[in-house]
């Protein structure tokens, strides 16, 4: 107890030092709580919105439906079973549904949509789309051919409340089915994926449309506890028997689960980096605090204190600091997290990027998860106590007499001492003193430079990883789909309408080819369509390409895994991605039907034979696109001789914006525009921006903790040398020279840390840049991101790294001014007396 009291007094004996240590623990802990809360909030929103708007917590299908998703696997709407399920414990609500795909024709053009037939009375008890209606109303029990759709879909299809829309699809019997529906409501869930591609109609209307009288494809359920959905699903299986599959949301949304896992892994990495830096900061302070008091410990030992008691004393001191830091860090971290948890963090500037993640919208609400708060608290507390063990052990082994005399064994290598003994100016002298001071206490310097080096290396590596991630996304998008620059009619990219085409496309093509940056140009037509195999219908972005020019612009021909690429004279061939082929259950050489809406609003369809299958390892490319010859597309769309796009490949990707700008000068006043890939893929650009933003937040935390570490080290260093500064001042050294010397020390420490960090970071990037980092464990997560494959190759882009490195260096130097000023303000008399 007495030791504890002594430890408590020791902690407050040097308030400044204790406050610096506390600030390292507090800032680190608060930052960790907040960062983790932010990621947890994002994940929670993703799950909650995805399940509450659309999926429900559990779905029950006929066994095998989840994999096949064909109408042949529908089931009778068994009201007795429905009632038994509804009365099961933990089931709050149950609603029958029909889910399938169709093509929605509005006033403008056709779009592939997901149709959900719902019971207007039961559905709102399971999902919450009814609450997201922004115009008109939700479906009602007596509605017949009424439809509600997302605001984004309505905008693109040119539909508003009161308009008539047509759903065209393949019915259960394989026939082409169509029905007219009156739009009665528009919803805005804030989730792009739902708002741009989902329509809801009454269950009875869906049964009529799909020829599924008396049938449904699934029941959606809301249960009392979403976390326990797996267990509840198991219990429900005893009710349904083996004819049905009962799937909890984790099985229904595997991509989301993997994305959340991916987020979690990223957050563990970030949390780990901050932990290491905080550990070093705290270890440093404790080490210094003990070394500074060598003489005092000698006296304690001489008075008969046992080694164990000395260890206890040092441990108690760090326990006290750790406990206070724990309290403050939790208070601040929880306050900030709960504040933003209520108000939300406005990322609407990055809405497009956020909405690519299912369930996320522009506002993120950080979430406090007690298990995570507890974990970071325990680890932070441990790291603020454990580093004391080493100095405590060292001190306990001191010889009292030597300790009282303040003898500290020199570990400086002789050659270092004799090096740099020449030199003339005061600058050189102070540099020399600064460098030698760094080696005077190697542990302290190693820890400080090590923290800087680790922080920077981690940053270089993670940033290069992210750069690699984005380079791959951009390159793949450009190589397989979007060109560097595309010339298109204004507004065409918004809805891919066949009514929009390029006037004088031949002239535009030859003009574009003459631009010095352009190395290839190819005409295209792109349109939304539905593709039907004998058993299934899927949405498709159909692209008509010139088989001889297109390979000069994109590289799809290099990833054909089966069959062959298109040829100029192909009459009826189509090229599809591996995923879509699997979804449609097609084989090479088999036929399928493509249906689309023509410029005049009528439907056009054509039969094509599968000539080639490509595989890019990215699900979106491999599932959403189909390629036919340009002339075939013109013929299907009644657009003879017309094209909608001229795709350009440039010498370098970086020239895209300048080239688009040049081309637009010639196109001024016309209805045609040239767009760079950045304009064509704003989602990708925003994703890059939002990820960078998050990295800068992490970087800011690293900076703060490193700055505290540097201040701490130099502060300790100044305290340790109080008498030395006193002597220097007594001999006529001006205070500004003392400031200079301390700042030089920080420059030297910073340079060592930055050089080491850069080297380590570059080594890591080179190693993984060659071999790649395999993320196939998160295959679902990566495949939801356009352009991304499973293996990421980190790329070192110096342009992206030099500024943070310089800022880190400057932060360290600025952090030195406080201890430097303290050194300079010392009174020589008091300083010389300092024990």
């Amino acid at each position: 107890m007495k030791l504890l009291k002594l430890a408590y007094r020791n902690v407050w004996r040097n308030k400044r030092r204790s406050l610096i240590t506390l600030s390292a623990i507090t800032v680190g802990l608060a930052a960790l709580i907040f960062v983790w809360g932010f990621i947890d909030g994002m994940n929670e929103q993703t799950i909650e919105n995805s399940t509450s708007y659309l999926t429900g917590h559990i779905k029950i299908h006929k066994a095998g439906f989840h994999d096949e998703k064909t109408l042949h696997m529908s089931t009778a709407h068994d009201l007795v079973l429905q009632q038994r399920l509804a009365s099961s414990a933990d089931v709050i609500a149950i609603a029958p549904r029909i889910e399938d795909k169709a093509m929605l024709s509005g006033t403008d053009e056709a779009r592939g949509v997901k149709v959900i037939g719902v019971d207007p009375r039961l559905e709102p008890k399971v999902t919450t789309i009814a609450k997201a209606i922004i115009d008109g109303r939700y479906l009602q029990v007596n509605d017949v051919n009424r439809i509600i759709l997302g605001d984004k879909l309505a905008g693109r299809a040119g539909l508003k409340v009161g308009d008539e829309a047509v759903l065209v699809t393949q019915a259960r019997d394989g026939s082409l089915a169509a029905d007219r529906f009156q739009v009665v409501g528009l919803f805005d869930s804030g989730i792009d994926m739902i708002d741009a591609s989902h329509v809801f109609i009454p269950l009875s209307a869906a049964q009529e449309l799909y020829s599924l009288w008396g049938q449904i494809t699934e029941w959606a359920l809301r249960v009392s506890n979403r976390q326990r959905a797996d267990g509840i699903a198991g219990q429900l299986r005893t009710v349904t028997g083996t004819d049905f599959e009962v799937l909890a949301w984790k099985q229904l949304l595997p991509e989301m689960v993997q994305m959340i896992r991916f987020h979690e892994v990223m957050s563990y990495i970030i949390v780990f980096i901050v932990f290491v830096i905080v550990t070093v900061g705290v270890a440093n302070t404790i080490l210094m605090a003990v070394k500074e008091r060598t003489r005092e410990f000698g006296i304690i030992l001489a008075l008969g204190t046992s080694q164990l008691q000395v260890i206890q004393l040092v441990l108690f001191e760090s326990l006290i600091l750790g406990a206070i830091g724990l309290l403050l860090g939790n208070l601040i971290g929880l306050f900030i997290t709960s504040y933003f948890g209520n108000t939300g963090i406005d990322l609407t500037e990055y809405t497009l990027a956020m909405e690519t993640m299912p369930g996320l919208s522009g506002n993120v609400y950080p979430l406090i998860r007690l298990d995570h708060v507890l974990l970071v608290s325990v680890v932070t507390f441990s790291i603020s106590v454990l580093p004391a063990l080493y100095p405590a052990w060292q001190v306990s082994r001191l010889q009292p007499v030597e300790a009282i005399r303040g003898v500290v064994r020199s570990t400086i290598h002789k050659t270092w001492r004799q090096a740099a003994s020449a030199g003339s100016s005061t600058h050189l002298l102070f540099w020399r003193i600064a460098f030698r001071n760094i080696w005077r206490n190697p542990w302290r310097s190693v820890l400080t430079s090590g923290a800087t080096a680790f922080g920077l290396a981690a940053f270089v590596f993670l940033y290069s990883f992210i750069d690699g991630f984005f380079e791959q996304m951009i390159d793949n998008s450009i190589d397989f789909s979007t060109a560097h620059v595309q010339i298109e009619p204004r507004g065409y990219r918004d809805d891919l309408s066949p009514a929009l085409y390029l006037l004088q496309s031949e002239k535009l093509l030859s003009q574009a080819q003459q631009h010095p940056s352009v190395i290839a140009a190819a005409p295209r037509i792109q349109v939304e369509a539905m593709i039907s195999s004998p058993t299934k219908t899927e949405p498709l972005i159909l692209t008509g390409v010139d088989a001889s020019l297109e390979p000069q612009v994109t590289k799809l021909q290099t990833v054909i895994i089966e069959g062959k690429y298109l040829k100029d004279n192909d009459e009826t061939n189509i090229l599809l991605g591996r995923k879509l082929v699997a979804e449609l259950d097609l084989r090479l050489g088999e036929k399928m039907v493509v249906t689309t809406q023509l410029a005049d609003g009528s439907l056009g369809s054509g039969a094509y034979r599968l000539t080639g299958i490509y595989q890019t390892d990215n699900e979106i490319f491999d599932r959403a696109f189909g390629y036919i010859g340009l002339r075939q597309a013109q013929s299907l769309l009644s657009m003879q001789g017309k094209v909608s796009t001229i795709a350009l490949r440039l010498q370098k990707r970086e020239l895209s914006q300048d080239t688009a700008f040049d081309l637009n000068k010639d196109l001024a006043g016309s209805n045609t525009q040239a767009q760079s890939w950045q304009e064509i893929m704003p989602v990708l650009v925003q994703m890059i921006d939002v990820t960078r933003l998050m990295f800068y937040v992490v970087l800011a935390i690293v900076f703060i903790v490193v700055a505290i570490g540097v201040t701490n080290t130099l502060f300790m260093s100044v305290m340790e040398r109080t008498r030395e500064f006193g002597v220097m001042l007594a001999m006529g050294t001006e205070p500004r020279l003392i400031v200079r010397m301390v700042v030089y020390e920080s420059i030297a420490l910073g340079l060592i840390g930055i050089v080491l960090g850069m080297l380590l970071g570059i080594l890591l990037v080179s190693y993984y840049g060659a071999g790649g980092i395999n993320l196939s464990g998160f295959a679902g997560a990566t495949s939801t991101i356009p352009g991304l494959t499973d293996v990421i190759y980190p790329v070192l882009i110096i342009d992206h790294l030099w500024l943070p490195t310089v800022v880190l260096f400057i932060t360290g130097v600025i952090a030195a001014f406080y201890p430097a000023a303290r050194g300079a303000r010392l009174s020589p008399v008091a300083a010389i007396r300092h024990a």
Binding site: S410, R417, Q418, S421, S424, S425, T426, L429, R432, I433, R436, N437, R440, R723, E724, G726, V727, M728, L729, A730, M731, G732, T733, E734, P735, L737, S827, P828, V829, I832
Partner: protein
Amino acid sequence: MSIVCIEHVIKDYRQNGIAVQALRGIDMIIDKGEFMALVGPSGSGKTTLLNLIGGLDTPSSGRIWIGKQEIGKLSKRELSTLRLWKVGFVFQEYNLIPVLSALENVEYVMLLQKIPDEERRKRSMAVLAEVGLKGLEHRRPQELSGGQQQRVAVARAIVSEPTIVLADEPTANLDSTTGGALLDLMRDLNERHQVTFIFSTHDPMVMKRAKRLVQLKDGQIVNDKTKTS
């Protein structure tokens, strides 16, 4: 010729919240080339007076002139310059800069004075040889004995040819043989170069060698005796 003139100096300060009057009206004149010692029990004001003479501190009242400069009227920067050019210090605990070699420690003041490389090096080597440290110029303080360190401190104090050298208990940490030798060295420098030395001390060896003894008690001069040789 007087180089230090002290006129009714009083020095008060607070120690742990308690007001202490360290000097209670000191009047004294020190001439060039003196080899004098301030003696008296602990707390008598020896070190305080030494600090005031060295411009490390300023008096609460009264006046101190070093040459023609009155210390109380100087800014911190001017005090710094005064110390740089006119005062050399030798401390009880040597207080060498541990990361600099003996030679670099001696050169330090001249570096601040911007004395050219060659001259600085020549003078430093010469002074180190004079204090008996030839061959040890490149050793760091922790590689030297206490006596050797104090010799470096003396060399550092005299190398820039200051008007006065202030030595606060310079022999307190040395054995009698080493202390005696160091005092003989300083006495020799005093006689040959006319360097003024002012000691604060309890050491009988210092008192024996000093030409003038000023005895302090409770912040006042109780005896001021110049020996006749």
